[in-house]
Symmetry: none
Subunit: 225 residues, 2 copies
Amino acid sequence: MKILIADDDPLTLDALATCVENEGFTTLRAADGREAVKLWREDKPDLLCLDIMMPHIDGYEVCRRVRTSDRAVPILFLSAKNQEIDVVLGLDLGADDFIRKPFTRSEVMARIRAALRRSAPRGEGDSFTLHDLTVRPRSLIAERDGKSIELTPREVSMLRLLHDHGGEAVSRDAFLDTCWGLDYFPDSRTLDQHMLLLRKKIEKDPAHPAIIQTVRAIGYRLGGA
Amino acid sequence: MKILIADDDPLTLDALATCVENEGFTTLRAADGREAVKLWREDKPDLLCLDIMMPHIDGYEVCRRVRTSDRAVPILFLSAKNQEIDVVLGLDLGADDFIRKPFTRSEVMARIRAALRRSAPRGEGDSFTLHDLTVRPRSLIAERDGKSIELTPREVSMLRLLHDHGGEAVSRDAFLDTCWGLDYFPDSRTLDQHMLLLRKKIEKDPAHPAIIQTVRAIGYRLGGA
DNA sequence: GTTTTTTTGACAATCCTTTGACACTTCTTC
DNA sequence: GAAGAAGTGTCAAAGGATTGTCAAAAAAAC
């Protein structure tokens, strides 16, 4: 998980970045708005923390530019100590939350985690995660603890369908509709067989699936937690 | 759209409620936490605005209680003028946003709309609650205190029938008609057996059912709240 | 043409439902 | 009140349906 932090005050920037890094995230640091936009383009962070008052391009403007091409990535605004945030403007620009200085370390992390949690089930785009697994559709690969697992296109498609339902059960018909053709005639064990292989690949204990749980008479769903 | 507003200061309560109503929402007004919980149970609002400092039950506690049976409904916290909000605690309890007094009318509405927007696509669908139990038909699951109980399709169907009668007794014939086929001939213990298993699953003390009460010579009903 | 992926069919394992026997409670009737 | 009737709770086990699993064939991809 990469988090972009933009602040023109070096002290604040460093304090924030350190705090975020200690929680296990990677950080991208930007000293002004222009750099923030550049870094966002290049590295596609999973979340942005933007100070509002910055040289060249202010936080609002960064948010506006990002939102023109990504309306999903969470954006948090930071405000200086005695500076009013224009909350209404921020929300209209698509901001997700606001953090007023002075802030505590735990408050910042709580808000970041909350924003990530809210945004997690979306992400139409590239990679997505389920449990401790990161799936990269373009590479047909899933990663856990740095080790990669090769997947087939159909398997990725199945995982994405599960992911997009975020914990809700997905019916067998939905699988066949989405991952196969609509007019498919499944009087067979096709779906089960694919589940079997998929579980053998991604589950730590395929006999007791933690990621893909079966919902009898319905289909399958992502395991809780 | 119903919005619950809880504040022990009548002036604030009225100002907020009026403001929200002018935007086309219906409001439920609560003067303290206890009333807020009661109103929530009865009317199932689509969003909650909770003052933190309130008599009897404070905002945190209201949030905690609501979250035990509904983890989806957006909850916003209000803070008095010179009063610190425990943001970390609030977020951990499942709050969605915080509004510090003094607030402007447009800020409040922007935050409310943003919270509703976020919650909309997560539409829990046709899930419903009975007592402290949240039933999610699509996953064949009931949840209490975050722990989930697996159900069968028939059990979900039985619970839904009970729920739809909201406290009124449901006849045994109605059960057989609705949850089984119409032309079913049950001179047997089928229904009782299903009630037995269902109670074992969802009742804290199956010997003394609190959720599913039997009405002799009629059928069953939801236990009084 | 070789390798990978997908599909199929047979069978086993599991879960859900139903049934029958019996115990228990509540209501009716004497 | 006591006895019987009706209604319900409980258990164990049978029956039916759904899903898991394997090996191997078919199809697709390289």
